[in-house]
Symmetry: D2
Subunit: 397 residues, 4 copies
């Protein structure tokens, strides 16, 4: 961190809005640098220009946080993805830290290193083993001196608490973010109870990320905030949702939707949906507001534009964006110029152009969790026989 | 062009598939480098790394053509967009040519320079005046020695013919592409008749781009091909459609949709829609197959993957993409692994997650064209009074 | 006909609006008196009170025509429906004529007897054989002295012409109505050409009924009128469409929709849709305006209410219906009272409450017609083997 | 009641399924005999043949209960509806009782007399005054000796309890049915708590009717049953839902939907939806299973057909209905014959044919209740000024 930059807690304590970045794996998958399925971040070493460019776009869009595009999980995850790599995990993670720092230095952004849920936990390994996995991941973050740490994308609060306990030992600020909705974690622990446990474990910032759409995530964080306050505790709040509408999700989130991950397009939020999200999040008392899978730079820019009055400035990328469509005043077609106004976009109910498609899907709802045989991780790609078994089973759902 | 590269006509004459790139203005608008409304390409000079990166992504996705990200239109358009610029038009256009060439040289791609419909024509200027505008635009393409020329995005075949006549004088191969659908140009000239006129004017490649979704565009090009063949003429065919579903468009295309340009998200095609498009286009005898607004690199990759058997190779970016979702075989959730198969994705009817939105919209359908007072271009941004007038008018539609 | 009543041609020649009734088989199926599949009218003899009541409701709703609820088709059809009957065809048909006359006499309505397309024609019998079938059906209509005759529900104009030729011999006014849309009959004869042939064969009234929604049917009748006038002929026009929205139908109409006949509910037109239909039909110059399958009494009332200014009076049932929802002024809930106005209902886009259903279906599109082996009629119910064969075939569509 | 008929409690105590009838006001409005807005039952005296016919259709469809088509409410309601009547309330109510008895005697059905929520309660009158209203309504039911009584369509459990207390004094069996969903009554009293209070007040049968779709109503009754059992009480359960899909309703039910009451068509349940409803209700332990607004005779028949195995017989009207579409085996078109099977209809997701309409609506949600000034009843029709006020208010929602 540049000596003149304020840290994450200084900002939040001062009541500032901190804007997060968007999800890298989904955005880089569409750009051709990440493989859906393994979702690994080797691009940080293989194609640094692509990763740097995406960081820069989020920075220009208003982000104050550059999350390192690192292997979230441990060696075990790295091994079991079946993806031939020409770089070691260490090389990739170091390259990712350098890229995040390089772009963070181009503006007013902090670098955050993250850990995430582990295959070890789902496979029922012990607390000691799981914690050892997290510890190992911290090496590169310490070496590269990230500004703060995030334990994110946890479906089980128990594992998230273990992660926070490990992260706290570094002395850096710790944020903890579960990928849950208002129904709570995979064992049915409510968002409020989850938040209380995380704060007690030492997290200074708590919230949710991924798995659900923005308004659903804001609702879950509100439940967290209420419970933390009721317990007489103090914390800051964060939210980094999907950029997909997911009203039809069950407790496991968008992974269960039949459209995941290659048919989600009709669900993508517009920039105007993002304005509403940013306002709701702000009104709920959340001050670390970012995005996860599906967020493109223009989504983050919309968050920054909605909160420009509170922050006191517009992001750099707004030089290429008129407020509420004002740029259309210069469109060549007069009827498009007539759309250069807030109420037009705020009230638009966009059509899908897909009259053969329904509005909602029925999620798969397999509902398995920690310890279920189906979730034991394997190093090999799924075999034909295994796929057939899964397919047969999916038909009976 | 590198000495060893085959030119556009050599390729098409040999029966090769030539894959185009996607639309730059829409993609770069979302990345924060182009302003919707004026839609000008100053990023080529202002933020060359962003433009270079997008070229590179399309190249990796399989594109054989790098279209220069230049001012399509003339000085008059540049003037009337109300966008303060720190670069001259010449600087921007030269930078754009250099970027396209730089990335084209990284692979097997050609550089194409383009001209497009002019405000002059819509404002009823003479053939001489309009042709003078096109001529001026060619200077930079000649100086930078692009590989071929495209007259694209014309709503009126008359103006497109004028453009082709000017482009032919350079001696370079000339493609001509109208932004029309099966109903024909804005004066009701059928696609077939349009194509015959363009071929007679000297275009070696004819087709359509923008304004309609892929299957609609393929249908229009089929009508062109039938008419050209019936007239005893010869040509190659190109198609570069939108990546948005537009079954509800009238003859003016997606500009008339209420969702244009900031609410189109639910209409975005999936990669599987693109497979179908590529196959339909190929079966229709079209060999120059690309994209326009809405196309992201993964859409072009899907085209290249569908046509890999015909081309004999996969694009570079397919190293990060399993065929028909095969990468999901390595997903951690077993029910997602069960989606690693072609028939799953081919038959999926993706939901929008928007139960309050309809499937189709009613297009604005102002239906004005050349010579209409509303289309006279002005240098200034639309005034409040003018906007009010347009708004009142839009309510009576 | 009562001596003081004007005949159908007198009314139409005087420029009066004649309102038809709705479809009896669909309405009585829902009331429990007609079996879907065979669709036979034995209720006229078995449950006369139910048939009389439905006649009366259409009369109260404004209908000027009571169509006899008779066996449309001939003995062959009667035989092959597999429906055990305790009444002879003659008994049923005579009872039906009496019921229609009884209710017609309660108001200003005429009785119409109808013939329809025959299994004989589809099974490729000769003109002589088919005509003999029609002749036999006329016996009861002559005996009971209906006011005029309708040859309706023909998919092939050739057979309809034969029917008109037979009906003309009775000396009664003859109307001819095909169940086709703008694409024409099953052999591709355009609506215009069909109408010209029917008028030349002697029909004084021509039009379409069933198979398509109101606006589609009006469009087809407009095409008929244009062609008849262009041919220098004179005729009156009739339209009796479905009360179901069918934008997704192919040329065979709603029979091909996957929802036929037991899942059509979401497609039912509202009374406000009927206002629009009545106005469009009237504006197109059609003066015999009625309904077919799906029409309930309130649908016919809406037609009569829309055309009350032209007719000079409201139907009897309007004593129980406020104009454009005016009755809601007396609702107990104030926000429902706020809906007592025309623009509310005219602009409402009613939701389906079915977020898992799409807007449009893909019709089966078997596209078989006269002479196809699948259409040869059989007396027996379909066997299990035959069903299996059909089912397998349907899956490949 | 015929001496040989079993009473309602005998049947339920014996574990029999009792099937209710459908809603008369909605069905007769469509037939032209009831005015939407006032919704009064003068047809019982004015047009007895229409009311008798509808009773008969429900009887044929399998109903065991004929609810008298009487003025639910008191003189005050009769007065304030603004509907000029040529019959006294007593005449109408007596005629209605006679019609119900006449048809009940044609089969195995009982006659039920009902009372409903009063304007007096909403206008904050005292318990004594409200109870006096109920008492007065009982006169005709006692005089005509109905078989049992139903206190139905109550939004407030307090008023329903008062009604039960009055009804109990007659010595006849008493059922109590609220028009609430899982969220409880208008004051937020949960369905379970409501049911406990009603049973304690003396109701032998409790449940819900109207306002919500079948599955929502079944859910609410399940909550009632659980609470009654948990409280150590005993009761029978009834459910008489709407025949409209209402997933988008808030606590006030379908009255708040923008489609109420004249645009509900796309929401109408199919017969197959009714099979599912009947099974769910039965599985939930509910044994008095009927319908309310929107139910047509074929909906009740579907309930009776689904429960034919449990009841041991099919209803009379099933002689005109093949099980699960079996009648289609005799259809003339082979592809329609292919639909003569259960899995086809059970899995069909019927399209709306309305691509410009959304799936869900936003309910009005005025959320006013007892004592709110807007709900004070008035004798006069709403004035223009009052309507304007309501309209302005509705726009701000």
């Amino acid at each position: 961190m540049a000596p003149t930059k304020k840290g994450i807690l200084e900002r939040l304590n001062a009541g500032e809005v901190v804007i997060g970045d968007g999800g890298f794996v989904f955005a880089l998958e569409k750009r051709g640098y990440v493989k859906a399925g393994p979702w690994t971040p080797e691009a940080a070493a293989e194609h640094p220009e692509a990763v740097r460019q995406l960081h820069r776009e989020f920075l220009r869009a208003g982000a104050n946080v550059m999350q390192t595009f690192t292997f979230y999980a441990s060696d075990d995850k790295l091994e079991n993805r079946g993806n031939k790599l020409t770089f070691t995990g260490a090389q990739i993670n170091e390259a990712a830290c350098d890229l995040a720092r390089e772009v963070a230095n181009e503006g007013d952004a902090l670098v955050a290193g993250g850990v995430s849920q582990t295959p070890s936990y789902l496979s029922c390994k012990s607390e000691t083993e799981v914690k050892a996995t997290f510890k190992k991941q911290l090496d590169v973050f310490i070496k590269k001196n990230v500004d703060f740490l995030i334990a994110e994308y946890f479906e089980h609060v128990e594992e998230a608490v273990w992660a926070v306990e490990v992260l706290k030992e570094t002395g850096k600020p710790v944020a903890a973010s579960l990928c849950i909705g208002p129904e709570g974690d995979m064992h049915g622990v409510s968002p409020g109870e989850c938040a209380v446990r995380l704060v007690k474990a030492g997290a200074q910032i708590v919230g949710v990320n991924c798995h659900f759409d923005p308004l659903t995530c804001v609702k879950a964080v509100k439940m967290m905030k209420e419970a933390v306050e009721k317990a007489g505790l103090k914390a800051h709040y964060m939210v980094q949702p999907l950029a997909y509408h997911t009203p039809d999700c069950s407790c496991q989130g968008f992974i269960d939707l039949p459209e995941f991950p290659f048919g989600l397009e009709p669900r993508i939020l517009t920039r105007w949906d993002m304005h509403k999200y940013a306002r709701e999040a702000y009104n709920a008392g959340i001050r670390f507001i970012g995005g996860c899978c599906g967020f493109e730079p223009y989504h983050i820019r919309a968050v920054a534009e909605e909160l420009a009055p509170e922050r006191g400035f517009l992001p750099a990328a707004s030089e290429k964006h008129g407020n509420w469509g004002a740029g259309l005043e210069m469109h060549t077609k007069p009827w498009v110029r007539a759309r250069a106004r807030r109420d037009y976009w705020e009230n638009l109910k966009p059509a899908s152009g897909r009259p053969l498609c329904a509005s909602l899907s029925v999620p798969d709802g397999w509902g398995v969790t920690r310890g279920h045989a189906d979730l034991l991780q394997q190093k090999e790609a799924t075999t034909k026989d295994q796929l057939k078994q899964l397919f047969d089973r999916s038909k009976t759902h």
